[in-house]
């Protein structure tokens, strides 16, 4: 069974206004469990919009999204959020860590509303940071972290709710080659654990990597080509 099915997804921003524009038009797509898929294309091609719709962050203007067989487009926000936080982990282009609090607090932030006790949350957070070799920085404020460390905090945060799918938008845009390779190595481990990984990227280092199973070429809000690793 496909993990995610997109059926005729169209997303139009500012509909009915002079600045109306169509970010996605009639995109259909299936994503199988396990494996790494990359959406590739120039900026403005609709990669980010597609990821945010796949990740239940935004609703499409038309079309349907099924997550694990469940239709989610017509769900109220609170149910969508519930599905999102148990299914997806997000790594953003700008990382978007909350400044002024420690690395560990950033990592466990997504799990606060779950109602898990802070003590056990912290324990899980430290374990995640430890896996990424960052346990010694757990209590450091995120402003004092290096770029690579911040990147790993963002990865740990994406994993705290034990999602089946990890979504990353241009993850290597602000990283040098070494850090980018580190990042890909971390993703490889996740893939080995059986997680599904979705990237939007136009970095060859990402989409030409041997661990990528599927590359989807996007342009003007459509998927124009697809390449699968054999």
């Amino acid at each position: 069974m496909s993990l995610i099915v997109l059926n005729g997804i169209t997303k139009i921003f500012n509909r009915g206004r002079p600045d109306e524009f169509t970010a996605l038009s009639d995109v259909s797509l299936e994503i199988e469990p396990r494996g790494l898929a990359v959406f590739r294309g120039p900026s403005g091609s609709g990669k980010t919009t597609l990821l945010s719709i796949v990740g239940c962050m935004a609703k499409p203007s038309a079309g349907r999204v099924l997550v694990k067989g469940r239709e989610v487009t017509s769900l109220p926000d609170r149910f969508l959020t519930d599905i999102r936080r148990h299914t997806f982990g997000f790594i953003f282009q700008q990382l978007h860590l909350v400044r002024g609090i420690s690395a560990l607090e950033n990592v466990i932030l997504p799990a606060y509303p779950s109602g898990e006790g802070l003590a056990s949350l912290r324990e899980r957070g430290v374990r995640l940071l430890d896996l990424l070799g960052l346990a010694h920085r757990a209590d450091t404020n995120v402003e004092w972290l290096s770029g690579g460390e911040a990147q790993r905090v963002a990865i740990a945060r994406a994993l705290i709710n034990e999602p089946a799918i990890v979504i990353a938008d241009e993850p290597t845009a602000h990283l040098d080659t070494k850090l980018s390779l580190d990042f890909m190595a971390a993703m490889e481990r996740l893939k080995a654990e059986g997680k599904t990984i979705l990237f939007a990227s136009h970095d060859p280092l990402v989409y030409e990597s041997t661990m990528v199973d599927r590359v989807l070429e996007m342009r003007d809000g459509r998927i124009v080509a697809e390449r699968r690793a054999s």
Partner: protein
């Protein structure tokens, strides 16, 4: 017009609740007219966001409403010294014709607002807003009542005139305070006790039946829990309060709120309101148990509501038994 800080606070509170409800209703009307869950349009997304606002506004309005109910009683109690013939809040409320309507409306609105919040909570549990039109229509009913309460309360306070020395002789010899309370006082203690025991027993029995799965008992439970609320208040006046005051002739439903009686009245009224609101909400929600997506959601909610109602009525019963058995007063039942 009496301008005491508490009066200003109450007017402010009512104005705030009225404004919140009015604003919520304005969105309620738009939601009623334009709601379309299937549509992914911007305006539908905006409306969906507004439902959060309305929920939040109403939650605060309800909190203020309950607070202002008690503050109102407290104020009436405090002002009684200003009026000849008023021994406590019962007399103050009777100073003009708006007093008792105001407090009745306040109690009614607190009940309605509580029920609304429960309906809203239930609706939000289900995945497709099955009750959205009904709850916003309900909101449009509550709002005018809340506004009417603010107006009545304003009229009540505006109509209060304290006696000052210069006009004392003229006002001295007015009639003694008499209100609806005095008719409750007249209710005989024996039958009142029987009614109280009966209504509470029916509530407990039907509530337990309902919880154990007999859906039909739900309606009876809801009606009896609401009836128990009113019977309990009448019983408080006619039959229980003399035990608390340890005076066979004192029947005031308000004095029990005072420090002298260790504020026991707050526990009485809070447990009664807390018992009646979920009890009544069960009756409101019960007809919707057939709606598709509520089938999974409603039963646990109803069970919890029933439990809450039964628990608080149980607390109330304990308080009553405690007050009567530890009272120095012994009343012969006729």
């Amino acid at each position: 017009m009496i301008v005491s800080p508490a009066v200003i606070a109450l007017m402010l509170g009512s104005a705030a609740v009225g404004l919140l409800a009015l604003y919520a209703s304005a969105w309620g009307v738009r939601i009623l007219r334009h709601w379309d869950l299937r549509s992914g349009s911007e305006s539908q997304l905006q409306l969906e966001k507004r439902t959060y606002l309305v929920s939040t506004l109403m939650a605060w309005a309800f909190a203020f409403q309950v607070g202002s109910l008690f503050l109102f009683i407290f104020t009436a109690e405090d002002l009684h010294r200003l009026f000849v013939g008023a021994m406590c809040a019962a007399g103050t409320l009777n100073v003009n014709e708006f007093g008792y309507p105001t407090i009745l409306l306040k109690v009614g609105n607190a009940l309605l607002a509580g029920i609304w919040l429960i309906v809203n909570y239930t609706d939000n549990r289900a995945s497709d807003y099955p009750l959205i039109r009904k709850k916003y229509a309900f909101l449009l009913v509550i709002t005018p009542l809340l506004l009417a309460e603010a107006v009545l309360q304003g009229a009540y306070f505006a109509g209060l005139k304290a006696n000052v020395i210069t006009s004392c002789c003229g006002s001295l010899f007015g009639a003694e305070a008499q209100g609806p309370v005095s008719s409750l006082v007249g209710l005989p203690a024996g039958p009142m006790r029987a009614a109280l025991i009966a209504s509470l027993s029916i509530t407990f029995a039907s509530g337990l039946l309902f919880r154990s799965g007999r859906v039909r008992a739900g309606g009876l439970f809801s009606v009896s829990s609401l009836a128990a609320f009113f019977i309990s208040i009448a019983a408080l006046v006619s039959y229980i309060s003399p035990y608390i005051y340890e005076l066979p002739t004192h029947h005031c439903p308000f004095c029990i709120l005072q420090r002298e009686y260790s504020y026991i009245g707050y526990f009485f009224y809070a447990s009664l309101l807390g018992g009646a609101i979920p009890g009544a909400a069960v009756g409101v929600l019960l007809p919707f148990r057939g709606i598709g997506c509520l089938q999974g959601v409603l039963p646990p909610v109803l069970r919890r509501l029933t439990f809450a109602s039964l628990f608080l009525y149980f607390l109330f019963s304990l308080l009553v038994v405690y007050s009567i058995s530890f009272s120095a007063l012994i009343v012969e039942m006729d």
